[in-house]
Symmetry: C2
Subunit: 254 residues, 2 copies
């Protein structure tokens, strides 16, 4: 919480990271290093690509907007976080951006925009959401960037859902157990297994959608307290609770 | 969650709400009802004042920007949520606004801005934060608005902290137990008692601050997983976890 994002600059690069590797950054990242972060030849930074862990690199050249890097050593082994998907009905873009940023910090593996019957937002700018996810991953110290998938209809997602992946369904419309009770019980049967978490649009799910969801054997309906939460609040709250009882927030002091 | 904020307009008014009461709204609320929500004479809405429950009211007159209301009946008795304070170091205004909105939805009783040694934000617009809290309370169905206090120094807050109020301290710098474990254990000794939750600035707490906090008998240090959370994420996550193990999210299905 509330630590300076990191004293060392961290960048996500889609390059192979290996001992002795050297390459030039693309222009936006070169601009960021030189003009925003004011780094010069000889400065260190950290790189990750989602596969090869975290590496320390040094700026070896900087001229006319081009920045060359040389890799030094691997400073953290690649880890894999919990296999948790966030299925999120699109909401207004500022709040959707909040969800992507927070979901990345909270360790989701993938974000699946799901268009529901009451979804009021017409388009999803997936490229912009991916950029948000990269930025948040760089900031929060993750070694991977969650995949932001192209939107699908909720129907299609349900019909093709992997049957062994539990789907926690935040349902404010009908009786449901508190999230931590329901998830803790399910962890007994599915610890280490794959999970998903479904958050509706501001307009809520339709009755038909709720009926269909509740008929699926992989769906676990839950509730999040007595007040009406906005969609972005519900996403952040549910992800936090899931991490605390089923994810990587469970470990003791370290 | 993610339900349409409420089909009925809800307004917070600082008026006595009682059978037969009638009054005019102030201009911004009159403007909101007539020009934004397009309500006319005869329309119903809901009112709350933080003391007298929720009341159904009817628009009895509307002319030249003035709107008169007549109270019909009390539709919900006043309740009191958990006695939880959020002590939040000021952060950039958009993120501070997010914290106030989410903390209101998540049911805090009061928000106490605490200026720490690494607080980088110079001023706090308390009036604007109060307006955010009112708007969020209207939206989420609460019957009260959390008090947003004037900023104090963290030192002053610690020195005058009520000794029987547990203070959950999200400390990323040293070993600490996961929040839900530490809070659940403390609930055994303090169930129904008053609580607080402390979130630092983006720059983190200073070593001196951490030392001082950890010396206080009322402080419970906790951690929130292995990734670095932004201050606003940490606040929302910690409030959700607290509600789930010590607050009003604990109730069974309803």
């Amino acid at each position: 919480m509330s630590r300076e994002p990191t004293s060392t600059v961290r960048l996500f690069v889609d390059r192979e990271l290996t001992t002795g590797a050297a390459f030039e950054l693309d222009k936006p990242q070169a601009h960021y290093l030189v003009n925003v972060m004011r780094l010069a030849v000889g400065s260190d930074l950290s790189l990750f690509n989602g596969r090869d862990g975290e590496w320390r690199a040094t700026i070896t050249s900087s001229s006319k907007g081009r920045v060359g890097l040389g890799l030094e050593s691997c400073t953290r082994e690649q880890d894999c976080g919990p296999d948790l998907w966030l299925v999120q009905a699109p909401i207004k873009s500022a709040r959707m951006k909040t969800v992507i940023e927070k979901a990345t910090e909270l360790g989701v593996a993938a974000i699946l925009p799901a268009v529901t019957q009451h979804t009021a937002v017409s388009g999803v700018n997936v490229d912009r959401l991916r950029a948000t996810a990269i930025e948040a991953a760089e900031q929060c110290g993750r070694l991977s960037v969650p995949a932001v998938q192209n939107p699908k209809s909720l129907d299609q997602l349900i019909d093709t859902w992997p049957p062994h992946r539990c789907l926690v369904f935040c349902d404010e419309t009908r009786a449901a157990r508190p999230l931590i009770d329901a998830v803790r019980e399910a962890v007994g049967q599915n610890d280490g297994g794959p999970w998903g978490l479904l958050i509706g649009p501001e307009g809520g799910f339709s009755g038909d959608e709720v009926d269909k969801l509740r008929r699926q054997p992989f769906v676990i309906p839950v509730k999040l307290g007595p007040r009406i939460l906005r969609a972005d609040t519900a996403a952040i709250a549910a992800l936090s609770l899931w991490q605390a009882v089923a994810g990587d927030w469970r470990n003791g002091s370290d």
